[in-house]
């Protein structure tokens, strides 16, 4: 179609003319429109004009507001003289001119144009940036749930996924749930949470701990001894893992004191245990486990006796004057005079915590040689075989007599009658020689038992056997190996101290002296847990809560823990 468009501005009389050739004449605010209406109230594309059925037809796009002859229109056939209003623009259909399909007069009035609605420009808000509080919330919550809940749960519940997730470089795993490092002692467990946490929502079971700590004993039998209040206690009650810094063993004395400061109340006075609440101010004197030999029962009985007990006597039945041995001038040894010190006999064990037991063979024999005949200084008697002593001596002297070398009266030894023929003594001579030997043996035995070798260290009793021969019994000796079995003492930290700062051996004249230091000796350096000027000493520094060498408290007879100390397993 071909249209003639006359454009008029304002109320001027003159106008511009232009031709339009095309199928559709488009009108709107956008610059690509054929007729541009400069009015913000007009849509970018507003309406179109086209030739239809020989006439000019108007079609209105969408909801554009277009008036035809002052009536709102959705589209109409136009006739000459019709007036179309679009915003500030007025179009009039003019009488046709030859050569054109139609003529349009376009008048844009400047008044009445709408102003820009700037508020509309302010639509932008946070929401338009694609970020909304709700969206962000969901994102964060879902992200956290996925990474911190779902993935760790998968690791926990689905074994097949465990390793892939754990080894993945990017995926978080159940280490996210780890609240702190494991104690060094437990490092070998690694990141296998289920090693200890066997079932979800169930606390770590004691059995799980005991899988490794098989010999661990309880402190007290919770059934027999409910007063201790240990019924509810689990391993993990005290041994708290996943802390930083990691502390697996509680040094705190509080737990001990809780029970022990009122132990007599707790046990309803069935115990002889003494209340303890502080090492310095409220700790009983040490008790040593002393042994006494019950002759009748031939049994070593152990008894714990307080160091402050007046009747404190060591019952080892050994005769041993420390002062003599420690004489700074020295003491006569086997070959020469020797000066002894404590560690001449008391030797630290390799760990340095305690001393090796003192034994005759190791510590005494170098001086106290069990010789019996000065002519045979190399011959020694066996130690600890008192009942064999006389027969050994008899044998020794019999041989001597029969060989003759030793016999008195210069009698020759039994000569050999002829080569190859057994040397035989006369029967009478042999008889006599044996009697001599026996007499010699008894005489030597009497000296050894009663005067020299044995009697130096042992108490020996002499009795008459039914045949009228004398016999000797050496009282058994048992040295105390562990004086204080209920505590642990480590000599190593004390190695800087001299022995006599604790053990007054130089003044000890007899072996019945107990040289264990009293508590006050410790207390010169060690204070309680709240001490101001001494070493803080917690219960656990000396005592062990779980003592595998010790039976459960409260187990069996109540009096058992009175005696407390039973023989340990070998």
């Amino acid at each position: 179609m071909r249209l003639l468009i006359r454009t008029k501005l304002g109320n001027d009389e003159d106008f511009q003319e232009r031709d339009f050739l095309g199928a559709v004449l488009r009108l709107g605010r956008a610059t690509d429109q054929d007729v541009v209406v400069d009015d913000v109230a007009v849509p970018l594309s507003c309406c179109e004009f086209l030739i239809e059925d020989q006439g000019l037809h108007l079609s209105v796009l969408d909801d554009a507001v277009v008036f035809v002859n002052n009536k709102r229109s959705k589209g109409a056939m136009l006739a000459s003289g019709d007036v179309i209003n679009v915003g500030s623009c007025r179009l009039t259909v003019m009488d046709p001119v030859a050569g054109y399909d139609a003529v349009l007069m376009v008048l844009t009035e400047r008044r009445g144009r709408k102003t820009v609605e700037l508020q509309d420009n302010l639509k932008a808000s946070l929401a338009t940036t694609g970020v909304s509080k709700r969206k962000l919330s969901w994102l964060l919550v879902l992200g956290i749930v996925a990474s911190c809940l779902i993935l760790p749960l998968l690791v926990l519940l689905e074994p097949s996924l465990r390793e892939p997730i754990r080894t993945s470089a990017v995926l978080p795993d159940d280490s996210l749930w780890d609240s702190g490092p494991l104690h060094q002692a437990h490092r070998m467990i690694g990141d296998d949470c289920s090693a200890c946490h066997e079932a979800p929502f169930v606390r770590v079971q004691d059995d799980t701990c005991l899988n490794c700590h098989q010999k661990m004993t309880h402190h007290a039998d919770s059934v027999q001894f409910p007063e201790a209040g240990l019924t509810e206690a689990r391993c993990a009650t005290c041994h708290v893992e996943h802390n930083d810094p990691s502390v697996l063993v509680q040094r705190d004395s509080r737990g001990c004191i809780d029970c022990h400061e009122n132990i007599e109340v707790l046990t309803a006075a069935t115990t002889t245990l003494v209340p303890v609440s502080d090492f310095e101010s409220a700790h009983p004197e040490f008790k040593v486990s002393l042994k006494t030999y019950d002759v009748g029962a031939a049994f070593w009985r152990t008894e714990r006796v307080s160091l402050s007990d007046a009747s404190l006597v060591d019952g080892s039945q050994l005769l041993f004057p420390h002062d003599v041995h420690l004489n700074p001038e020295g003491i006569e040894g086997a070959e020469a005079r020797v000066v002894l010190s404590c560690n001449s006999c008391h030797q630290l064990e390799s760990g340095g915590a305690s001393y090796l037991p003192v034994t005759m063979e190791k510590d005494c024999a170098s001086c106290h040689q069990l010789t019996f005949d000065s002519d045979f200084p190399e011959r020694q008697l066996p130690h600890g075989e008192a009942n064999l002593l006389v027969p050994i001596l008899e044998e020794f002297y019999a041989r001597r007599t029969l060989l003759g070398a030793d016999l008195e009266a210069g009698r020759p030894a039994f000569p050999a009658e002829r080569p190859g023929k057994e040397t035989r003594m006369e029967a009478a001579l042999r008889e006599q020689a044996l009697v001599l030997a026996r007499r010699q043996a008894l005489s030597t035995a009497e000296t050894i038992f009663e005067e020299t070798t044995c009697a130096i260290c042992h108490e020996v009793t002499r009795s008459k056997s039914p045949d009228g021969q004398p016999s000797w019994t050496v009282l058994p000796v048992q040295l105390v190996d562990t004086w204080m079995p209920k505590s642990v003492f480590d000599h190593k930290p004390h190695v800087e101290q001299t022995c006599d700062s604790c053990h007054q051996a130089e003044q000890s004249e007899v072996a019945t002296d107990v040289l264990m230091p009293k508590i006050e000796s410790c207390q010169t350096c060690h204070g309680g847990e709240h001490s101001e000027n001494k070493l803080y000493s917690e219960c656990i520094d000396c005592h062990r809560f779980h003592n595998p060498n010790q039976s459960l408290m409260g187990q069996g007879d109540v009096s058992a823990y009175h005696f407390g100390f039973l023989e340990m397993d070998p």
């Binding site: 609605e117 911190c148 702190g180 946490h197 930083d244 705190d252």
Partner: protein, 289 residues
Amino acid sequence: MFESFLIHRSMRWLRWSLVLMLIALVGYVAQDLPVPRNGGTAVGYALGTVAALLMVWLTWLGRRKRNYRSSFGTVKGWTSAHVYLGVALIVVATLHTGFQFGANVHTLAFVLMMLVCLSGIYGVWAYSRYPFKINENSKGKMRAALFEELKEEDRQIVRLVGQVDQEVDKVVRGALERTEIGTRYIDQLLGKDRSSVQLPDKGLCDNRDMKTVADYLVGVLDTCDNPSEAEAVQRLLTLMGRRARLLSRIREDVRLAELLRIWLIIHIPFAFAALAAVAIHVVAVFIYW
């Protein structure tokens, strides 16, 4: 009669908050433990429970605020309590951690919670500062009124340009149409003026504070020989100046209003995130009891 939420009822909630913080601190310090202080002790559990309940309750403000019929306290009272107990939460929750941190969900929960608390503290600061500034800036007019004023200004301008040269008309009207008050969010936040104007010989130019169009009008005034038109251009210049001032005031209003609430974009999503993390924290702690 106008009692701010910060001084609500003689700061009753501040006092409660201080009491809570004091109890938490004393409880924490007074613990006599063989192990390092941590969340798993009795005091730790107590602090953790209090902190978790506090978090749920603090988040519940969002519910209470929308429970318009509720007469369970006033929203102001709740806000006051929210603010002060939120501050107390920082102390309670930090003590609950026992200062043990690591790369785990437990620390994540704590960090998120701290983010929420700290953004909240910024919020309190914003709430006590920006309303005053907004009112100062808008000189006792609501934003709608400012826009109304602007519209009136524009109407006058449009009327005036009807009396001047067609080209000037086009430039000025173009300047009005291309006036921007922060079409993008970031512009609103920075109060940035991205207005532009189409000049006949120079094309699209920056028109910050209506400066370019003003310069253009001065140029027109120079070459103008029609006295009535010159007067109109002169008046246009005055109006443009007024318009620029008004626009900057609107921009400032928009900027301040945005600053007043932008912290909520951290505060609220992270509050939910923190709740989720705390829930997982609790689950994780009890799965591995």
